[in-house]
Point group: C2
């Protein structure tokens, strides 16, 4: 029991020096790699850069104790930061104490929700975000993030929050570009893009080993940060208008208490729920993927608890909403992390940076961070997946396209909610007009197939109708229509057999429809039979009067029904 809620107890007792060495190295690498990122995502959310560091400390430690993934690294992540910024700017002005306070409340609410969902074992809610909706949402969010950074990259001040006005403002502002900022921003961007595209193979070409080449390629952002910071410092570029991070308070995060303010809490409820669910889905998908590679399992419900604990920790240590981050997790995994202790070592490392090294970050140009963000979000836009969805399913593609469009034009919250609503609606619509097929016997066998697709044997006084869907309220009437049409067009019919091999559920509405069909067929002197009813469905039918009222029988197999009914009557 204790182990279920404190997964650390399952692995810590077996910890040894070999694991410790691997984890320590991974922790060190992660420390260096995620600092630019952590700062950048805090800025993306409209918060002071240091909040990103704070949110990488205690939240990560909370996850170490509570989480089930061995390699997931928790901290500020791009999508959650984007959603945080959108939520907060609805209730406060960036730069004010109210904005910081709202960030704490958002973390607190998100933490409580995740924890509650975890304790209620509600991990399944994540399933309602379909893959196309997630893919669409990520792609659109990536574009929104890029749009939010482009001003920083070009040195143009942008104030509008919506996409279209922002683009208009950008075009208008282009003549006023700040050239030194542009040099740093575009330069970093170009460097990172080139490194990403060609770095690995170029470095391998120089004779480096594969792991080293990978590591150096991944260090691009660190390199860009160090170089541009040094250049800015030496040339005093901040004095001529290049925006920099500026003074970051030194020291560990302060204890913070999210204040209670009923209207504010209420306003942040829905955003907190969306952030929780989206963060959880991202985090758990990645955790599952990596766990699968090492033949480990993670528990989605306990992951909710772990992320909940991490967000609560963020709320009380001047942080921001956190989740399992794609980039930091992949770095951690590739650096050879064996247990969550790697996350602890990274947190200690970032803590040390926060304590001693923040002055070194004062001259870090915002444009460099913008370049870092822009490159890292490119992974969010998965064009092949979008193309593949188009080829495979138009309705899935439709859900994806609507999610993209509404996220871009109406914002992240409307986008994701509409995506979920549309995918549920489409599923209901599809199941509300179920496929059904008249089947006939494949001569000489006990198999029955669609008469329109196969050469089959049929008799005119028996209709074998296979229903390819569970019967429930949304399609109950449709079933009635199908059967009535059948009877209306075939006056010689004596028996209708509903083949229920694909019927996994008959709800109360469908039961009433079956009752109605039975009564109506009885009036027309047609007998209604069922075949291949599944165990659970049959158990349920036995609780009703339907089987007593039904004019015909329940056959175990279609063949049994055929053998019995296909003989000419009298």
């Amino acid at each position: 029991m204790l182990r279920r809620y404190l997964p650390i107890l399952t692995w810590l007792p077996h910890y040894n020096r070999r694991l410790g060495g691997a984890d320590l190295l991974a922790g060190l690498i992660v420390t260096i790699m995620v600092i630019p990122q952590s700062l950048a995502y805090a800025v993306l959310a409209g918060l002071p850069a240091v909040v990103g560091l704070y949110a990488s400390l205690l939240p990560a430690l909370a996850y170490v104790v509570l989480g089930t993934s061995r390699t997931l690294a928790v901290g500020p992540v791009a999508i959650v930061a984007l959603m945080t910024g959108a939520a907060l700017s609805g209730v406060a002005t960036p730069g004010t104490p109210e904005y910081l306070q709202a960030a704490l409340i958002l973390s607190l609410l998100s933490g409580l929700m995740l924890l509650l969902m975890g304790l209620l074992r509600m991990g399944f809610v994540a399933n309602f975000l379909s893959h196309p909706v997630i893919a669409g949402f990520l792609a659109a969010s990536g574009l929104l993030i890029a749009a939010s950074q482009i001003g920083h990259l070009l040195g143009v001040e942008l104030t509008a929050r919506e996409l279209l006005p922002r683009l208009v403002e950008l075009v208008r502002g282009l003549p006023d570009m700040h050239l030194p900022t542009l040099a740093i921003g575009a330069g970093s961007l170009l460097f990172l893009l080139l490194l990403r595209q060609y770095g690995r193979s170029a470095l391998r070409g120089l004779g480096l080993s594969r792991p080293l080449a990978d590591l150096l390629t991944r260090s691009g952002p660190v390199f860009a940060v160090v170089v541009t910071t040094l250049v800015t410092w030496q040339l005093e570029l901040d004095a001529i208008g290049v925006a920099v991070i500026g003074d970051i308070p030194q020291g560990l995060p302060p204890l913070s208490i999210p204040g209670f303010d009923a209207p504010l809490w209420q306003a942040l409820l829905v955003p907190a729920l969306l952030i929780s669910v989206v963060g959880f889905v991202e985090s758990v998908s990645m955790g599952q993927m990596l766990a699968a590679r090492r033949r480990e399992r993670i528990s989605p419900n306990q992951e909710l608890v772990g992320l909940g604990g991490a967000n609560l920790a963020a709320a009380f240590t001047a942080g921001m909403p956190v989740s399992g981050g794609l980039t930091r997790t992949v770095i951690n995994y590739d650096a050879g992390a064996q247990t969550p202790l790697a996350g602890m070592f990274a947190a200690i490392g970032i803590g040390a940076v926060t304590l001693f090294l923040t002055p070194a970050l004062a001259y870090l140009p915002i444009a460099t961070l913008a370049a870092t963000i822009t490159v890292s979000i490119l992974t969010l836009i998965d064009i092949p997946l979008i193309r593949q969805t188009w080829r495979y399913s138009r309705s899935d593609f439709f859900a994806m396209a609507v999610t993209i469009l509404l996220t871009l034009l109406e914002g992240v919250e409307t986008g994701i909610i509409s995506g979920v609503a549309i995918s549920i609606g489409l599923f209901l619509y599809r199941t509300s007009r179920p496929h059904s097929a008249l089947v006939g016997r494949i001569p000489g066998t006990e198999h029955f197939r669609n008469v329109e697709r196969h050469e089959t044997e049929t008799v005119s006084h028996v209709a074998l109708l296979r229903i390819d869907e569970s019967l429930y309220f949304a399609n109950a009437r449709y079933l009635e229509d199908t059967v009535y049409d059948l009877v209306a067009t075939r006056p010689e019919l004596e028996h209708v057999v509903l083949i229920c091999s694909a019927v996994n559920l008959i709800d109360a509405s469908a039961l009433e429809s079956l009752d109605a069909i039975n009564a109506r067929l009885k009036d027309s002197r047609v007998t209604l039979h069922l075949a291949e009813v599944k165990g659970p469905v049959m158990d349920r039918l036995k609780c009703s009067d339907f089987l007593d009222d039904m004019t015909g029988r329940v056959f175990l197999s279609t063949f049994a029904a055929w053998r019995e009914l296909s003989r000419p009557s009298q």
Copy 2:
């Protein structure tokens, strides 16, 4: 084409004298029967009684031209009147011109929506109201209507609109009951209840024929109205405080133009939608039931057009939202109506009453109307259906119970919306954890059954997994879990066969999960196969790369997979 949208063209050309005679008689009977009802429902909606008459004229004629049911009678109905009252009292005060105006706008919006849904062939939306939700909604609405009438019956003035405050007010007001009103109200109620319970058999006992006994039993409300009106007139009971209908303007309905007022229209949009859908569902279910009895068909999409036309007519002739009424339709059907012309004759009859006989209604006591309404809504509360739903399905019952409770406590709109949301939610939840079963061969046959329910033959290196649900986003991850658990617990596995006989759909999310499963199994040296994939599903899969990547094969039948794979390898 013209015939599709003007169904009158299909039957009017074949009209003859025999049909005319039957329709004329039915029209006459309906005229007499529905007058008390029409007045009563207008009062229930908080409108002047005459509005109920107006709404029985032109709207009924519009339906005659546009509707597809031969016997449906359109006019004010109880549930729609209740919902109309709830909607209007949210935006205006009963008795004011604004309230009348809002009623017109509500009719107009409802008419436009119905028409639009009809033209877009959206009749299927009605399917999303599951039977248990409708039954729960009707029962709760019946109780609300009864609660709204009890003040009129007892002669106690009630002002609260919510159920609980109303009941409190009622108890407090009991000592101030107006005894003459109570005598009329309770007397009429008792008379109608007794007649309903024993009238038919008593009259048959007196030697009357069955149709005549039925007719007389149904005339109870007319009889009560005539007697209590005469008594009130003769004894001048209105002078001592018995509330009466009062002067009704004589003459045909005036032309009315619903004014445009953006905020008011917006406020009435959701109520209009709910009224449209609920009215349509009620109307079309009844129409289908009666049509089925006479081997006729109705077209749900054209019914939307018919009801839409009726509501538009109501909007421009000082009416109120209308629908196909249960009582008036049953009267019409039982009176022998053959074609919609019966409805026309009834409308003409009511028109004549409106022109010449309204002075006779001035002394009609409100208490009598309240008794009429109360008795007629008793049919809405279907206790056996509620009990049967409990027995058959706890989750359907849950949806019903929530609908009843929320309708009673939070009002009709919250009630119906919650009911729909809950039944959709429950369906999604059920399908998100699909039933799946390991199957084995029934020795000596080609049949395969659940190993836990039947004596079957299995081999340890092949797992035959039957999935009893369509694969879509909500259960894709669940499928992954099921397969991974299977592989984790059976190290000797070499082949996993997914039997897809009950899989009617594989959406893009589930396709990705299948891809993931295939890759993961490949890593574990387990081959993934499919069996019994349905035609439409297979067509879809061929549009993806999955079949190329899959490590195993697609077998036509489970038996073929068994024959091939169950042989010991090497």
